[in-house]
Subunit: 433 residues, 2 copies
Amino acid sequence: MSSSASGSSTSTALLTDHYELTMLASALRDGTAERECVFEVFARRLPAGRRYGVVAGTQRILDAIADFRFTDAELAQLEQTAVVDSATLDWLADYRFTGDIDGYPEGELYFPGSPVLTVRGTFAESVLLETLVLSILNYDSAVASAAARMSAAANGRPIIEMGGRRAHEYAAVAAARAAYLAGFATTSNLEAGRRYGIPTRGTVAHAFILLHDTEEAAFRAQIEKMGTDTTLLVDTYDITRGIETAVRVAGPELGAIRIDSGDLGVLARQAREQLDALGAKDTRIVVSGDLDEHAIAALRAEPVDAYGVGTSVVTGSGAPTAGMVYKLVEVNGRPVAKRSEHKASRGGRKAALRRHKPTGTALEEIVYPVNNPPEPEEHDKQLQIPLMRAGQPVDDLPTLEDARQRLRHGLVSLPWEGLKLSSGDPAIPTTFL
Amino acid sequence: MSSSASGSSTSTALLTDHYELTMLASALRDGTAERECVFEVFARRLPAGRRYGVVAGTQRILDAIADFRFTDAELAQLEQTAVVDSATLDWLADYRFTGDIDGYPEGELYFPGSPVLTVRGTFAESVLLETLVLSILNYDSAVASAAARMSAAANGRPIIEMGGRRAHEYAAVAAARAAYLAGFATTSNLEAGRRYGIPTRGTVAHAFILLHDTEEAAFRAQIEKMGTDTTLLVDTYDITRGIETAVRVAGPELGAIRIDSGDLGVLARQAREQLDALGAKDTRIVVSGDLDEHAIAALRAEPVDAYGVGTSVVTGSGAPTAGMVYKLVEVNGRPVAKRSEHKASRGGRKAALRRHKPTGTALEEIVYPVNNPPEPEEHDKQLQIPLMRAGQPVDDLPTLEDARQRLRHGLVSLPWEGLKLSSGDPAIPTTFL
């Protein structure tokens, strides 16, 4: 019981939809399971008003595929619940993905129709990955896309991700990673520190102040333990008195104060004046409390040194999923596409490049049949890279730091309208050849 | 690497915020760590326009607390990253929660200020659980609250949860549980089937149709494997021809068709007429595709037999977190509360009852100091139950089926305005004594 509660099965194979397995069973029976297929992951559109999306989760997908194996425990479950027949169980017992995957590297921008990931293999081995691949890409990209807007709004000031409590306990870990990928400086999430090496930060909550008989006693306790270069939380009772007490206890060497409530712009200005008057000119001001990209931008002119962001980033700031889909586009070399009028999709394996002006500004996303590329131009950038070959991750995959750098470069390349926080169209058009 | 990617650490202890541990370190040093504390979990408000919330996640919290242990792996990580000192590491090595927890049972309704969970123990042992408790309650309750509105809108017609691909891969499992708790009939998520015994369902995606040379070949393959009591997906090419082919291949005994795109109301009516004309009078119609509670309600008059719901339920249908907080309200028997003007909170350990009319209709949520209850009235219902004593779950905790039943009863007890899908005030007021 407790192992299941904490998500501790080492197999990821049941993190999928029932129908992936019933499709497999039917396809094994009629022989279509071994047809060579191409599946493409893309977003039909960006979340309403967004001007770009940010790819995140690719490395987590590669890790999760390595664990996508049907051990005795998974097979027993499928047998007991009669999801599939015994022939399918036998096939699953030997399953491992042996195909190829290409995709946009993490930190790359994407737009409507961008082929963010391309999975090639037999129908059987590829269809099984649909749900897991989408879960990871859709959540991580939703968080990274929101976080990138916040990072841009913060304009170089550091942001700490502290939203784990407002997301599923494991989603919180992925969110910390995606936010860091998109330019956040640190996270409060310790598991994200362990898994991904992201720097973690934290000092105290209001509970710590309330635990003590006085605010001063709490400040003294914190400073004795953590030194004067810590962040004192000054808004439990009265902020002006809190700051006065903080500087009296810590001295003008106090590292930072944090304000977590109220009109943060007004309070930051008052706090800066008060700190300066008390000689604490180098004491930083950290603000938090329901911040999103718009609130961060609104504080740009205020004397704020760092932001703490929670709810809005882990929930994608109004767009909690990237809405990507995993579509079959080719069978045995033949393009296929759903043809009902309402959800048209384009058949055939595709690649993509981004065309730029000589100045480096992005002009358009060109999505083309992989065997029929457009005439190359000087400032084209190919967007997909190899990620997996014959079921094994390729060597020298980009790191999390690479992804951070890639995104910084990508954002600089957008036309200036593309960085506006207001609602609008995608920053560049997508052209389908 | 692969183990961390799949969330397979058996300890939940690092699914927390850095500051929980730095608070602990400071409090251990100054002796306040052993003060007896009461922490209360509540939502300051419901998501905008919502009329009630649904508690979910409590059982997952109890399971996660059992795994909240600092093994050598967690201690090594904390030591390497210098999060805490060696005295704190020693204390953590022996940590297990030994306190008491009371709370609203799963499936209970909640309103602004309802004391959904009360954690009692020393500061040290209780503060460490803050982040994990909130992550679980906030996500699971967000999903259950949205799902309950959808269940009410479906008015007895079954809903299958199929949104796993639009949520983090482990959040998807919790979402399936929360949706089932709130009245959904089944889920597509196989891991939710394994962990929680929820019935799983699924047939095929469009990829299965496209894999085959013709729609007819795909239908034949599916029926050979799964029998005629299956659900054929008829909207890959032309829906009218798809239905014609489906009945030709399966006969009038065909179990169901599914339509996943287009104007579902119009298409369902046309499909019903066509099926009836073909003699397939008992063939059910399943619809899916971006459904939320409003779209479900709009289909109430149409010949729809079941709904598939994805994105909207796993993302809380516009409210992806319940926004609950974990606040210190009592220290050594003394009420405490943050007093800055902007986020007032009420001190002291509290309990809650729901007052009803003799007809059974709920009148108000009364939140009162636990030692000073109001005069009892005949139709009062106490809302908190014991969940954990001395760190052990109590016997005979409510089951998932109990939670489903509790919610059904709870919704019936609301004033009729409380069940409206439109935006409004909480269905009943909260009175603080």
